[in-house]
């Protein structure tokens, strides 16, 4: 009897596509970087489906990169904004305090 070897190519594990994370960054960080994340997330899915595993892995890295850039730029903006607001609030407080003293 002829032995036919069972040729099954085991595809590598799907790379993380960052879809939900990039949606969150798009909605909450308000930056176009999140959209870049969604673009690469879509590429991860389509490239993996066509068998381009290396391409999917590269898109996954790009999706992660842009999502993280969006998150950190958003956080940096938040911190700078809060510093600005508290400085302004502090200034307003001291101004009103000195006005009270003068009256």
């Amino acid at each position: 009897m002829e032995q036919t070897p069972q040729q099954t190519i085991i595809p590598p594990v799907r790379p993380k596509n960052w879809l939900v994370e990039s949606i969150l960054v798009t909605i909450f960080c308000c930056l176009p970087f999140g959209i870049a994340g969604i673009v690469f997330a879509a590429q991860v899915n389509s490239k993996y489906d066509t068998g381009d595993y290396d391409g999917a892995l590269k898109s996954s890295a790009d999706a992660g990169k842009w999502t993280k850039i969006g998150l950190f730029v958003g956080l940096a903006f938040l911190v700078l904004y809060l510093i600005f607001i508290f400085l302004l609030g502090g200034a307003a407080f001291w101004t009103s305090a000195s006005m009270l003293r003068n009256n």
Binding site: I27, C30, V44, G74, F77
Partner: protein, 136 residues
């Protein structure tokens, strides 16, 4: 898709989610100055797809979904998806059987998300009759 791999990540994600929800429940971004404005809107004067999401989040936590949709309808549309993603991530942390692989890894689903987001971004910036409903 959202992946929580360790208990430590679970703690971080749930702490951020709970603290954020409490903050946005008790404080209305419409009347409190410590909520940041959208950096994109601040720089360009245009609306981004996320503009209005802080107000929408506040309204959602109070059960006012239609008012939330008035600030950002995309946020309301994505809410069930984000909720499902959170449930899936929680399930997948504790179970060997992984949920949500087919939906979040489908190429057409990701493309739909992208198209809807881009369309919303463009349309809400048109300052004319039906489209200005999409502005925050």
């Amino acid at each position: 898709m959202l992946m929580i791999r360790t208990k430590k990540q679970l703690w971080i994600v749930s702490t951020v989610a709970i603290a954020g929800s409490l903050l946005y429940f008790y404080f209305d971004p419409s009347f409190n100055r410590f909520f940041p404005p959208c950096p994109f809107n601040w720089l360009t004067g245009l609306y981004c797809p996320g503009c209005g999401s802080q107000r929408a989040f506040h309204d959602t936590l109070h059960g006012h979904l239609s008012s939330a949709a008035g600030h950002n309808i995309l946020f309301v549309i994505f809410l069930p998806l984000l909720f499902f993603a959170a449930v899936v991530a929680l399930h997948n942390l504790f179970s060997k059987k992984k949920w949500g692989q087919r939906l979040f890894y489908s190429a057409s689903f990701a493309r739909i998300i992208l198209t809807v987001t881009l369309l919303f971004w463009i349309l809400r910036n048109i300052p004319a009759a039906p489209f200005n409903l999409l502005a925050p």
